[in-house]
């Protein structure tokens, strides 16, 4: 008889811990043939709010971390993903319903995407900042700063690479994030949370929820302590409604765009999550 394998319990990732949903709910994830795979947690409004609190608490330190430090931490995420490449490949194969060969290429791209973003954190200030030659005896400079807590509704057409593509942009810029994972294929996102938990990413910087997009995304869109929301994974018919709710506190809204996740992102992925701060000081003796 073959050995009975030990299955993993897939839970939420909030504030560095792995709780079940406070609602006690879970939902069934199946493979492309309808076979049972797992029962991940089905997050509730309360879970979403807890995740926002965790992200807000983590924001001061993560945004104040040196760019070099953030860079090293994101590179560390790539290192740990590489060491679990096979597990991710199996997860993506299952999640994206593709063969192992193609899944492997997607995992390679996902790992490389972390490296790409890791290299950005200490370049953005030079590229996007400025000293401004004002007409007076003042030193005046502008610098990019993270917008704050970002809600990321992960894309539905990619279980891992699409998520990492958008998550990396938010992290390298110093934001903290609440992710709502791909609804039908949430498992690679949870596996990623295990990597994040062991990669020196401080607790609360990334929080990952699994569950129903239609149920949870609106709570994030209307949450008054979320500063920006990426609507990537929101169904087309719901985008307008959620974007409207996001105006209650003038969230920065990133509309879904269909794209080939294997392509290198543009800098707008990062600039859309940055604010420009300008500081003045008199010059004199």
């Amino acid at each position: 008889m073959s050995r009975v394998e030990i299955r993993k319990t897939y839970k939420l990732f909030i504030g560095g811990a792995f709780p079940r949903s406070e609602s006690g709910r879970s939902y069934e994830v199946v493979d492309s043939e309808g076979n049972f795979v797992a029962n991940p947690a089905m997050a509730s409004r309360k879970d979403a709010r807890d995740a926002v609190v965790a992200a807000r608490s983590a924001f001061p330190n993560w945004s104040a971390a040196t760019a070099f430090n953030r860079s090293q931490i994101l590179y560390r995420v790539a290192e740990l993903m590489e060491s679990r490449r096979e597990e991710f490949t199996n997860g993506v194969s299952l999640g994206d319903s593709i063969g192992k060969g193609r899944a492997g290429k997607i995992v390679d791209a996902a790992i490389d995407r972390w490296v790409w973003y890791a290299g950005w954190s200490d370049k953005l200030g030079s590229i996007l900042g400025a000293t401004n030659p004002v007409a007076g005896p003042y030193y005046n400079f502008s610098i990019p700063e993270p917008v704050g807590v970002v809600a990321l509704i992960a894309p539905q057409d990619s279980s891992l690479l699409g998520l990492i593509d958008l998550l990396g942009a938010a992290l390298t810029t110093g934001n903290t994030v609440v992710v709502l994972a791909n609804e039908t294929a949430p498992l690679p996102a949870i596996t990623l949370s295990e990597v994040l938990a062991t990669s020196d990413v401080p607790a609360g910087v990334v929080n990952i929820l699994t569950g129903r997009t239609k149920e949870v995304a609106p709570w994030l869109a209307s949450h008054m302590d979320v500063d920006a929301i990426n609507l990537a994974g929101v169904a087309a018919e719901d985008v307008q409604k959620l974007a409207g709710e996001a105006t209650d506190n003038l969230k920065r809204v990133i509309a879904p765009k269909s794209r080939d996740w294997l392509q290198t992102p543009t800098i707008e992925a990062m600039t859309s999550l940055l604010e420009i701060k300008t500081v003045w000081h008199p010059i004199g003796i």
């Binding site: 001061p60 104040a64 590229i127 996007l128 400025a130 401004n132 030659p133 004002v134 007409a135 007076g136 003042y138 005046n140 502008s142 917008v147 704050g148 008054m224 500063d227 307008q240 974007a243 409207g244 105006t247 209650d248 506190n249 003038l250 920065r252 765009k257 543009t266 707008e268 604010e275 420009i276 701060k277 300008t278 500081v279 003045w280 000081h281 008199p282």
Partner: protein, 481 residues
């Protein structure tokens, strides 16, 4: 007469020639609006200055069509360097007619002539001069190798800096190759209408700038017009949110420059003379009608008494009255409605238990006036600590540690501006880095420059105006391009 009293020094209004009525400036000429005319007044005297057309949605449609034609046939085809030359012309004409603009601004807005003459008008001209030079260098702005304009831009501006806000909007829009439909504020249309004459003198092609006066309904018609590609709005957070919601689901872009409740933080080592001047400038400049005003003063507890004593003394020297007098520091409140709002919030301050102190000054009997006022004993829960008063009213709070100062400063949905007063460089930069605000003034306050990006975090808005970063508001970004 004591040594510190001044003889009246009124600026002459002979230089301005105000027509008895004005139409709408559409396609390079003034036409009669379809709506009912309304009166615009001098808020310092309540004298009627002129009758102003109220633009209807049909008028907005005419203006958008004119702007579209001008964009398609002229402005988008013109070499960028030529476009820039029109902006240089406009800047020069504004400088040549600076006195006229300053007098007209003060008459219609109520701000002291010293401010309109030395700040509003020179900065407005400087904005055109600065952006003129960008027109043929946009590929170097870090926004892509061939950045493209949006097309027709609808712009809605407030009454607190009527001409300066016009220039913040129109100059970058034109430099980047857009054409404009501008709606000035209801109560302060006159300098915008004089700007129409500048466009005529500059030979600006018809339809590149269209000016449609009116109130909220006129602005709403502009926002909802289907052929407007981008909306730029400066005004209240309430209206800004309504605009943001209105354009959801359309292809329109939007930038918003909204309200604020700026913290002005005074540490115990602050250079005291400069700090007192900075506090006064932060809240009493332009009667406090400033979105980035330092309206919450946070004083470190051990210097609280000293700062307040010196502040009261300095405030007692402020000359409140005739805005046309060159010695006036604080002019008239812009409208009866705004005076009502200031009065309501100040009364809430009394009722919620804060202590009011106002400068002893005689206020004119006609017009709208509010004596410079501070409230002490303010807590974070008080309305006067949370809501934008937009008047000469300062709320004073205290703190013990730098961390507490940051906590209190950031405890607001707004995030436009902040000030820090300290002699210690490392403390200043530490504080500036933690303030969630788009502009931080260190040992100064309320400084503006065309090269310096301005705009808010959080509910203070979307986007920046001024500097290289401000160009992004008028050029298509990323996948829009």
């Amino acid at each position: 007469m004591s040594p510190f009293e001044y003889a009246p020094a009124p600026e002459s209004r002979a230089i301005v020639d105000i027509a008895s009525s004005y139409g709408l400036f559409i396609n390079g000429e003034f036409i009669n609006g379809a709506g009912t005319a309304y009166k615009t007044i001098n808020p310092a005297t309540e004298e009627v200055l002129s009758e102003i057309a109220e633009g209807s949605s049909a008028d907005i449609d005419l203006a958008v069509k004119a702007a579209r034609r001008a964009y398609a046939k002229v402005w988008s085809k013109m070499p960028a360097a030529e476009r820039g030359k029109y902006l240089y012309r406009i800047a020069r004409i504004m400088q040549e007619r600076a006195r006229e603009f300053a007098v007209l601004e003060t008459l219609n807005n109520g701000k002291p002539i010293r401010e309109s003459r030395d700040i509003d008008v020179p900065l407005a001209a400087a904005h055109f001069f600065y952006h003129a030079g960008w027109a043929d260098k946009l590929e170097h702005a870090g926004l892509g190798s061939a950045p493209k304009p949006h097309g027709v831009v609808g712009q809605i501006i407030p009454w607190n800096f009527p001409l300066l806000m016009l220039s913040w909007k129109v100059a970058p829009a034109l430099a980047t190759g857009n054409t404009v439909v501008l709606k000035p504020a209801e109560t302060t249309p006159l300098t915008a209408l004089l700007f129409a004459d500048v466009c005529r003198q500059a030979g600006l092609p018809p339809g590149v700038v269209n000016i449609v006066t009116g109130a909220g309904a006129t602005g709403a018609a502009l926002v909802s017009h289907p052929d407007v590609n981008k909306i730029a709005f400066t005004g209240s957070t309430k209206v800004g949110k309504a605009i943001a919601r209105e354009i959801v689901g359309t292809k329109k872009s939007v930038t918003l420059e909204l309200g604020g409740k700026g913290a002005n933080i005074v540490f115990d080592d602050a250079p005291m003379d400069e700090t007192i001047e900075g506090i006064v400038n932060g809240i009493f400049f332009n009667q406090g009608h400033v979105c980035c005003a330092g309206s919450r003063l946070l004083i470190q507890e051990n210097v609280h008494e000293e700062v307040l004593e010196r502040l009261r003394h300095r405030m007692s020297q402020l000359r409140v009255g005739d805005p046309m007098d060159k010695n006036t520091d604080v002019g008239a409140i812009n409208s009866a409605a705004q005076l009502g709002r200031i009065t309501e919030l100040a009364t809430a301050g009394d009722n919620e238990g804060a202590q009011r102190w106002s400068t002893p000054c005689d206020l004119p009997t006609k017009g709208f006036w509010y004596a410079p006022t501070i409230f002490t004993g303010v807590t974070q829960a008080h309305r006067i600590a949370r809501e934008e008063i937009f008047g000469p009213v300062l709320s004073v709070l205290t703190f013990r540690t730098p961390a507490e100062a940051i906590e209190k400063a950031n405890n607001t949905p707004y995030g436009l501006s902040a000030g820090v007063w300290t002699d210690k460089g490392s403390r200043l930069l530490w504080t500036a880095a933690r303030l969630r605000a788009g502009v931080v003034w260190g040992n100064t306050f309320n400084r503006f420059d065309p090269t310096s990006p301005f705009g808010g975090y959080k509910e203070s808005g979307w986007g920046r105006e001024g500097g290289r970063h401000g160009l992004a508001a008028y050029l298509k970004q990323g996948e829009q391009a």
